[in-house]
Amino acid sequence: MATRPELVCPAGTPAALAAAVEAGADAVYFGFRDRTNARNFPGLNFSREEAAEAIEHCQARGVRPLCAINTFPVADDDQPWREAIDWAARHDVFAVILADIGMIAYAAERHPDLRLHLSVQASAANPEAIAFYAETFGVKRVVLPRVLTVEQIRDLIAAVDTETEVFVFGGLCVMAEGRCTLSSWAAGRSPNKDGVCAPAEAVRYVQDGDTMVSRLGDFTLDRVAPGEPAGYPTPCKGRFRANGRVRHLFEDPVGLDATELVPALAAAGVAALKVEGRQRGPSYVAQVVRSLRRIVDRLEDGPTPGPGPTGSGTRHLLEGGEATTGAYRRAWR
């Protein structure tokens, strides 16, 4: 029988955190209101006071608070990241989620009792990379990049002693995690260093009759016709003219829904299932977490690894209203 993975859920605001806890999250991850995390959007994230209250709220309910400090500092300005790590250690978070190897080294040396999780942004996708982080810095869990099949995940878990965590629902990134430079080229700010794929100050929506035009800086990303669903205003989801045709060159606006693969992922030995969406509201968090909670709890009831329910009833919340199992099954091949 597959073991029951932990459900790790996003919180961009205290309201979303409360919704995640109430809906049955085993752990909640959040970030500070600055560029130390990969969802650095206006009005989002936690002040230090809100974070302290959030940690207390989680701990009082047996939920593990995880602090995401998962962007990459510039060489001459890593103080905000160090301070964030120091604060998290002092306030008894269950773990910090880090991507930058220098910050991992800092955390391991300065706070040897602080539990370290390796962010998906570190893009560690093979046993050698994972073993390096585990043996050198004591990393306890790795969030796997969304490039592996279920079978590859199973084989990788068999080859490492570190816990693994995989995304099962939410936004999907097709670029090498933590390495994308598309939007920094388009808008001058980096998703890896500033925590924004499409900085809000550079985004504009314009109505051209019934067509919605999304723009990022000087670039038109898409012209969405009436009745067409829209995606995030990021370069990777845009439509561009190439060889005389206008189409999505990198990715259609779709979201990840690997709900049906939860039994297989659990059987493969995954320690935790992660929901993407710190930029999403409490209603998204509540609906998605409740749905996944039911599915994960059912893992204890019956044989595995047969497929789970197809679709989670939450696809209407996904980007473009469309879902994919992404690299887990590579159904496009």
């Binding site: 009005g43 669903p229 509201g281």
Partner: protein, 223 residues
């Protein structure tokens, strides 16, 4: 299309409200606006990237909510839709706005945008900050009413009106469906005919060689 309000009791109510002077609508809404400003100010001021004006326009109503943030101070007012300067405009059916503001509906702000039920214009950063602040304070009118001094009786009345609204909305939806049924049936017939035509074209393409293949065949014969 989000700029066309859905046929609903709210739309009818909005039509009935149109003759009312703005000062009258402001005084009726003032207690709710004051409650919202109190709860929102504490949360929004810390979250705003900079000062600015956001206008929130429910499609069905002849009023819009204007949020003005300046030097750490928040002001709320009712204005006519489209009137006055705004750095950002959020436009959607009222039920979508209430779902997003209340935080417990089927939609959040991103889902509203994906499904094209919500429009954003102007400064997206400002609009996002306002949206996250509204989610944080749980700004659904019923919840605001309950938190106001003496608001519980009004919230109870509003709750009963909401139940009546649900029934009225169902009835109006049946009327709408009956009104558009002939058009819907004709569109379905045309859609089926177009699918048949597409199948015929695909079949013809399979059977008739492409010009490039015909050229290859001709070159092969010549050789």
């Amino acid at each position: 299309m989000t700029t066309v309000p859905p046929l609903s009791p709210l739309l009818l109510a909005g039509v009935l409200m149109r003759p009312a002077p703005m000062p009258v609508m402001r005084s009726v809404a003032w207690p709710l606006l004051a409650a919202l400003r109190r709860t929102l100010a504490a949360v929004l001021v810390d979250r705003l990237p900079y000062d600015g004006i956001v206008r929130i326009e429910p499609l069905e109503l002849p009023v819009a909510l204007l949020l003005t943030a300046e030097k750490g101070h928040l002001d709320l007012d009712l204005v006519a839709p489209g009137m006055g300067r705004a750095d950002a405009v959020i436009r959607a059916p009222l039920d979508v706005l209430l779902q997003i503001a209340g935080g417990d509906g089927a939609l959040d702000g991103d889902a509203g945008l994906f499904s094209r039920r919500l429009e954003l214009h102007g400064d997206v950063g400002l609009a996002m900050a306002v949206r996250y602040a509204l989610e944080q304070v749980d700004a659904a009118p019923l919840n605001l009413l309950e938190r106001m001094p003496g608001g519980r009786p009004m919230a109870a009345i509003a709750g009963r009106l909401a139940a009546w609204y649900g029934r009225a909305a169902d009835d109006l939806e049946r009327v709408r469906q009956a009104a558009v049924e002939p058009l819907r049936a004709e569109l379905a017939r045309q859609d089926a005919r177009m699918r048949d035509l597409a199948d015929e074209v695909a079949d013809l393409r399979r059977r008739v060689p492409s010009p490039s293949r015909m050229r290859e065949a001709a070159d092969g014969n010549a050789a």
